[in-house]
């Protein structure tokens, strides 16, 4: 388990992390979400012992990262945003070097290398010099470096940044396949990625932890009123009144009117399901419904909501 308690970090006068606290449970895949410059990388650097925090503590399975660095770091594999690769080495030489660095006993080194190579699927390039590899392969070599010592905890900083869509999917699947074997903390500013992969999400904005929950709960909790989008193939002016008379609909607004189709946006009471009522109401007046769509809150809405809220708070200070 990773415990992050009241961690703050100053860079000169700039407060990069402001009193961040949360826990990471064993075996979970935690997403760290936030815009660029929010403090994700700083937090990860502190978790891995690369940087010290100005105040607050980080403990990895009960070992403080600064008090007992050797014990704490043994359990961590870290892939920074720029994979720490030596371009002049071959993949195999590099992994051998990492094995020595992480004090993997000599007898199990070759086995560990072979396992890491096959896990990230780079066996075929193991003899090539890292300089000549594509970005996607470099990322995988970096990942191999992180997992080679089979650490309990994997910390991955923007592992899919700068990759093409195909490589992104491959890396994401790779991370999914590691789930359960390791506790994984994984940062990104791509929402869909976090939504599809992570058990829980921490949103960091402007150095503060502004939210932590499962992606779904976060969405339903943060978004508030539900919305429904309705398109009717009639320009009758009575439609609005008919809709307003249905119980559970708080507000009706016309979004646009085009080729005889009018699109409405309905703001609903939180628990109301008014779709049947709308159907019968429209049907009795012979107003054909051509589209009805409930707008499920997505993580993107949460994210925008949370960050703009934090921004406003920050602005009013």
């Amino acid at each position: 388990m990773i415990e992050i308690k009241n961690v703050s970090k100053y860079y000169g006068d700039k407060l990069a992390l402001n009193n961040v606290s949360f826990e990471v449970r064993d075996g979970e895949l935690l997403g760290l979400l936030g815009p660029n410059g929010a403090g994700k990388t700083t937090l990860m650097n502190i978790l891995t012992g690369f940087l010290s925090s100005t105040s607050g503590t980080v403990s990895i399975d009960g070992h403080d990262i600064l008090e007992e660095p050797a014990e704490a770091k043994r359990n961590i594999g870290y892939l920074p945003e720029n994979p720490p690769l030596y371009p002049d080495m071959t993949v195999r030489e590099y992994l051998r070097f990492v094995c020595e660095l992480k004090k993997i006993p000599k007898v199990s080194r070759e086995k560990a290398i072979a396992e890491a190579l096959s896990l990230v699927k780079i066996f075929e390039v193991s003899g090539r010099v890292i300089r000549n590899l594509s970005k996607g392969y470099k990322q995988r070599v970096g990942l191999a470096q992180a997992i080679i010592s089979k650490p309990k905890i994997l910390i991955l900083d923007e592992p899919t940044i700068g990759l093409d869509p195909r490589q992104i999917i491959e890396i994401r699947n790779l991370i999914m396949s590691l789930k359960g074997k390791h506790t994984i903390i994984f940062s990104s500013h791509v929402l869909t990625e976090i939504q599809s992969v992570c058990d829980r999400v921490v949103i960091i904005f402007d150095g503060k932890r502004v939210a932590i929950d499962t992606p779904l709960d976060l969405a339903s909790r943060m978004i508030g009123p539900k919305r429904l989008s309705l398109t009717v193939a009639s320009e009758s002016e009575y439609i609005g009144d008919a809709l307003r008379s249905i119980e559970g609909i708080k507000r009706v607004t016309v979004v646009r009117s085009e080729d005889g189709n009018v699109q409405y946006e309905l703001l609903l009471e939180p628990s109301a399901d008014v779709r049947r009522d709308i159907f019968f109401s429209m049907a009795s007046n012979s107003w054909p419904i051509v589209e009805m769509r409930s707008n499920e809150p997505s993580l993107e809405d949460v994210y925008l909501g949370v960050t703009s809220l934090a921004e406003r708070k920050g602005g009013s200070k």
Binding site: F50, N82, M89, L101
Partner: protein, 259 residues
């Protein structure tokens, strides 16, 4: 620690750095050797003393990227997040650079061999000069290692060690100047009525103190074939001092609050 030693040595010979440094060393010493021998010189110590004077070119080449490149490319994350100790890594990198330097000196051994084949002789002065040269190299590599840790720019690291090593060649000139400056200031400000003898001895004190730090003066005895233990103690101390500074500088980065 051994991992870093091996990696650095490998990297010297994967990149042009190691080869360029070796070639440069061979060319400069070879040039001296080839022009010295025909003119009747059968004493190689002259060559070794000469080579010790060009260390300011060779050493920056082999030390400039030791730490600066790791900072620049972000591979230093490995140093900080692996459970190896930073001090061990500093020593490993220093030893790798020193190993390259020793390999470079194979050229000089070849010169000695050639000399022996053609009836020259190797005496205490030759061996002493070679030893002095190696000792100076070891000191300067420690300075270069430190210079490399101060910046993420290889050129700046190289220029820094270049300047420091070059200046150390001329400590005796600066110390003389500082002596006269001290004497000048004390005479001009002579409010306490200090005698001119005392002022002169104060000036000498300043000069001697500066000269005490002159690495070249320290190994001078070796260059004339006299073996003494003090220079070794001095040089090893300087090496330990700079490696310790390097270690502290690396450690400081983790604790830095200034980005």
């Amino acid at each position: 620690m051994i991992a870093y030693y091996k990696r650095e040595l490998l990297s010297y010979f994967r990149s042009p750095t190691g080869w360029v440094a070796m070639a440069l060393y061979a060319i400069i010493s070879g040039f001296f050797f080839s022009s010295w021998i025909p003119s009747g010189g059968f004493d190689l110590s002259g060559e070794f003393v000469f080579v010790s004077g060009i260390l300011f070119i060779v050493v920056p080449i082999i030390t400039m990227r030791l730490f600066s490149e790791e900072k620049k490319t972000g591979t230093d994350v490995l140093m900080y997040t692996a459970s190896s100790s930073l001090s061990g890594i500093v020593v490993a990198k220093y030893l790798a650079a020193l190993t390259l330097f020793l390999l470079m000196n194979i050229t000089l051994l070849i010169h000695m061999l050639i000399l022996l084949i053609f009836g020259g002789e190797i005496n205490a002065v030759t061996v002493g000069s070679l030893f002095g040269l190696l000792l100076l190299g070891a000191v300067f590599i420690a300075i270069g290692t430190f210079a490399s840790a101060t910046t993420e720019n290889q050129i700046i690291a190289a220029l820094l060690s270049f300047t420091v090593i070059l200046l150390s060649r001329f400590v005796f000139i600066f110390s003389e100047q500082f002596r006269s400056i001290t004497v000048g200031i004390l005479s001009a400000l002579n409010v306490f009525g200090i005698s001119s003898e005392r002022i002169a001895s104060a000036g000498n004190g300043v000069r001697d103190a500066m000269n005490w730090l002159d690495p070249y003066a320290k190994v001078d005895d070796y260059f004339i074939g006299v073996f003494r233990i003090q220079p070794i103690i001095f040089c090893v101390s300087v090496i330990v001092f700079f490696l310790f500074l390097t270690y502290r500088l690396m450690e400081k980065r983790r604790w830095s609050q200034n980005g």
